[in-house]
Symmetry: C2
Subunit: 113 residues, 2 copies
Amino acid sequence: MEAVRADLPDAEAVEELGATFGLLADASRLRLLIALLDGEMCVCDLADACGQSESGVSHALRLLRAHRVVAVRRSGRRAFYRLADAHVRMLLDLALAHHAHATPLGTIDGDAR
Amino acid sequence: MEAVRADLPDAEAVEELGATFGLLADASRLRLLIALLDGEMCVCDLADACGQSESGVSHALRLLRAHRVVAVRRSGRRAFYRLADAHVRMLLDLALAHHAHATPLGTIDGDAR
DNA sequence: GCCACTTGTGAACGACTGCTCATATGTGCA
DNA sequence: TGCACATATGAGCAGTCGTTCACAAGTGGC
C-alpha cells in the first residue's frame, strides 16, 4: 500500500496525462483526429467531413495545435492539418480497434451521473 | 475526402469513445486508476495513497463504477475496488509506458487555450 | 485595387464538472 | 444497544469547457 503510493507518477506527470486524455474526451475533437488518421486535410474539408462549423473546427485545431497533437502546413489561403503526435495516433488506433468488435465500456447503465 | 466521411464511426460510437477518454481526463480519477493497476484497494487506502478526501474518492469511484471501469467487492465495512475493464487497462498501460521515456505532448507551450 | 474565400480570433453565454460540506446507511465491536 | 468507523449520497457552488456570433487578417483571381 505504501508501495502503491511510491509507484504513482508525480503530480505533474499525472496532470499531463490527464490533459492528453482530455483532448480526446470531446466528440468534436475526436472526430477531427479520426478524420486526420487518413492523412492531412484542410480546415474547410474537415468542417465538412465532420459536420462542424469552420469556426468551431478552427478553435478545436488551435487547441490541438497548442498541445502539439496536430501540425499545420500552409499553402496559399488553405491550412492543411495532420496528426503530429505518434503517441496520440496509437491511443486512437487502440481505442478504435477495441471499439470495433467490443463495446469498451458498459455504455452507461442507468447509474451514470 | 468523401471516403473520410464514410470512414468516420457513427455519432454514438464517437460519443462513447469520448466518454471513455473523459473518464481518464481527470487527474484525481487517473491517480485512482493508476493505483488500481497493481490490484484491488479499499476506499480509505485509495484516499490515503492518492491524497484525496474519502468523499471525493467515493464520488469518483461511483462514476467509474457506473461506466464499469472499476468493480467493487465488499467485505465487512470495507469496499475493495479493482479495475474491471481490460480496455482501460491497456489504454493506461500504453499511456504510462510512453510517458515513461518520452513526454507525449508538448506540455503546453504558451499557446494554450 | 476590389471582391470572394479561407482561416483565425475574441467575447459571451449556457452547460457541465469536480469539489466540499453535511448527512445517511451499514458494519463491527464493546 | 450504543458508538466508532467506512462508505455512499445529495445539494450547492465555483470554475472550466465548448459553442456561437461577429469580425479581423491574409490570399488569389479578376
